[in-house]
Symmetry: C2
Subunit: 450 residues, 2 copies
């Protein structure tokens, strides 16, 4: 297991600087493409292009499939159409399509013209599928056999076609018109008697997905049923490709990143290497929503001008109440969002979930209120003020928990990604509603206790 250490990187940079290309090649030749990709990402853009020129077309293709998207763009821009064609030829169809999709149209045209017609045709078809659907992530190379033959014949067929398919762990059985009728795990085929029929070996209970299915749904299926590869069929049930689990692993990581980014109030489009200006643009909308909420909060505060002036101490506790309510809402909404994403929580159980979160908030709010009461009573030498602030805190926290739970569940129901809820909506509504409740209750209590 080769790891890219800092020493190794320094050696490569040093040798590249002295144009010792032979030595660099000998250092890099045994690396796994994923390690070569990692190495490339640690170099300057000049060194990167230099090193990439030294690897063979076959390795270059695998490296491009592994490298971070923004570095991939850089690398591709430095290549001529001939080299690109050489690389595309070495890739599996899904990776080839990803690569061609990133080429400038005129370069892509040159690559298409150099390809054989059937290959070019196939590639064009893949490119028509949306990137985040089963069709977009599938490979076209599938190991399929007619359902009428024997295990021995199937093994011969597998042997004959193995070079074109690459790795595979499952064989698909199709009927006379290419419809998928069953799957045979490779190990079952190995173990079977050569005269046994494929139709008796195969599992007819096939998990297949249609080309248009969202990649997140595909990932959920694969994860739920522990599949190593999923066949993809067209609208007529004909086998058109397969998705392997390594692509699914990428989807799962992508989707988790997407959720985390959205929860923080930025976009899944924010990737390393994006320009500062573009990142600013992606984050700004959420900040403006928050800012608007803050300004409404300022307006709310100004309405209570009189009581604030009368009891300046009340205004000191605005940040305490706001941040505690914010934390409680964040806890509830995050737990609900993740549970919805992993399928642990059904959207139908809104009320029981809200009750539960409010119960948790009641306990924690009470504890926080007691602490706040004690500190305030001593600090401001006024148990009355302490009681008022503490009681208001409990009320605000209960509302915060209810909002934090209800908003993501409501969003899920109307088919908006619940992860969008934590950032601006929950925080903002919390700020405004929380402040209103705090000031209203506090003023009421104070008047009443006077």
């Amino acid at each position: 297991m080769e790891q890219i250490t800092q020493d190794f990187i320094n050696d490569v940079r040093d040798l590249l600087g002295r144009d010792q290309t032979r030595l660099v090649q000998s250092l890099v030749i045994d690396l796994h493409p994923a390690d070569t990709a990692e190495l490339l990402e640690c170099l300057s853009s000049e060194e990167r292009v230099k090193l990439f020129d030294l690897v063979s077309d076959e390795v270059a293709g695998a490296v491009l499939a592994e490298v971070e998207p923004h570095h991939r763009k850089d690398l591709i821009e430095g290549l001529d159409a001939g080299r690109i064609f050489g690389i595309v030829k070495q890739l599996e169809s899904d990776d080839a399509a990803d690569l061609v999709a990133q080429l400038p149209p005129e370069v892509a045209e040159v690559v298409f013209r150099r390809m054989d017609e059937p290959e070019a045709e196939e590639l064009r078809k893949i490119l028509e599928y949306a990137e985040d659907t089963a069709g977009g992530i599938m490979g076209w190379e599938v190991m399929s056999v007619p359902d009428g033959i024997t295990a021995g014949q199937a093994i011969d067929e597998v042997r004959r076609r193995s070079s074109e398919v690459g790795e595979f762990y499952q064989i698909f059985a199709v009927d006379g018109v290419g419809r998928l009728v069953g799957t045979i795990p490779l190990h079952a085929l190995v173990v079977a008697h050569p005269d046994e029929r494929v139709s008796s070996l195969m599992d007819r209970n096939v998990f297949a997905v249609q080309t248009g299915m969202d990649q997140e749904e595909v990932a959920a299926l694969v994860s739920k049923y522990d599949l190593v590869s999923v066949p993809v069929v067209d609208a007529f049930g004909r086998l058109v490709g397969r998705i392997t689990i390594d692509d699914v692993v990428d989807v799962i990581e992508e989707e988790a990143t997407e959720d985390i980014h959205r929860m923080a109030g930025t976009s899944e489009e924010e990737v390393p290497g994006e320009s500062v200006l573009r990142v600013s643009g992606l984050r700004l909308p959420w900040l403006i929503v928050g800012l608007t909420g803050g300004m409404i909060a300022a307006y709310v505060l100004s309405l209570y001008k009189v009581s604030l002036k009368e009891l300046l101490a009340l205004s000191f506790f605005v940040p305490v109440v706001a941040s505690t309510a914010g934390n409680v809402a964040m806890q509830s909404s995050t737990i609900v969002i993740r549970a919805l994403a992993t399928g642990e929580l059904a959207v139908g159980r809104v009320w029981s979930r809200i009750l539960r979160e409010v119960a948790v908030a009641l306990i924690n709010g009470a504890v926080c209120a007691i602490i706040l009461f004690t500190v305030t009573s001593f600090w401001q030498s006024s148990a009355k003020l302490g009681a008022v602030v503490g009681a208001s805190l409990v009320a605000v926290v209960l509302v915060a928990a209810a909002i934090g739970t209800a908003v993501p569940m409501f969003m899920k129901r109307i088919n908006v990604d619940p992860a969008l809820a934590t950032g601006p909506f929950v925080t903002t509504s919390n700020d405004v509603v929380g402040l209103l409740i705090y000031l209203h209750i506090a003023t009421l209590f104070l008047t009443w206790l006077k």
Copy 2:
């Protein structure tokens, strides 16, 4: 592909209520264990036990491996030792160990006593590995062959042992003392000539992990190198088990959930079905940290008593400044935390990353400040107040971005999970530092502009 619909659930509940066990069995018998698990989770606890009694030991084992942990506990409690022994016998070693680990010690003892000695011995050994290490998630059943035999002999060996290993996609070659020396993809074996030697077919560049490796590292390796299964070796390089990709998929989802929960200020131990009191306990520490920060903020505010009284309007904008700074810090820290978790960001590049985040914050802070200036100028009829609040906002936001970036990177460096950083530390330090800066700058400006 069978899906658990609400109608289906209702039918099952109805039949269970009328004790039509035969009919229920016929409905459930063709379900995938993952679907049966989902169905069980939708039932009342009484119905759950009733239904679970109806499934065979073999299916029951697979269902227990799929069901949510807190439901698993419920189901196990309802079973006698005989039934548990029957189920354990049907499971692969890693799932069997997970199940036995959850049994009350006295029941586990009964199960152990009923088992054959070698099996019991093996199970005890697995139970010794920590749950979140390679040893804890691996299965002991591996398809291994001596490296000295031919492909034909290897296939015979595979055929002989296939029933005990279950699914497999790779064969491991071991030397005379059991050390792992190479891997052979199953399809390569199928395609090979029977007289070819295993030693010439195998890939000697083996990705193996040691039993003590953290499961998160294992997942990162599998995801990076697109592996379908990883062999596990002991300290002497002897093959002891393998981890399959479906377990890795579970780990990836678990780790993402863990990060998301920690970022929200709760614990990965918060699982559905946990009691309200326990959930409160898990969330409370973060709230108290936040509360402490808020109280320090209140103290900071009280220090500026005079200027606040003089210009009450200044206090209206405390929530705006605090929430905008909070949002900016959240964006920076989340992006950094996720990039550290997926390995996209190296911890060595602290300064360049902070600069970058501060640059983004400068642009967005400036835009927000202009909006705030405009609104404040008109609303409070004072361009001076608008300018002061706007300028302070920019300063606070820059500091927030720097804190949000630096804290998680620092935590990563001292080997504390950076996901812990977003919740309390960043928020609290932000509240206090932000407020100090805001009030200090605002008072300075106001005095200076007087």
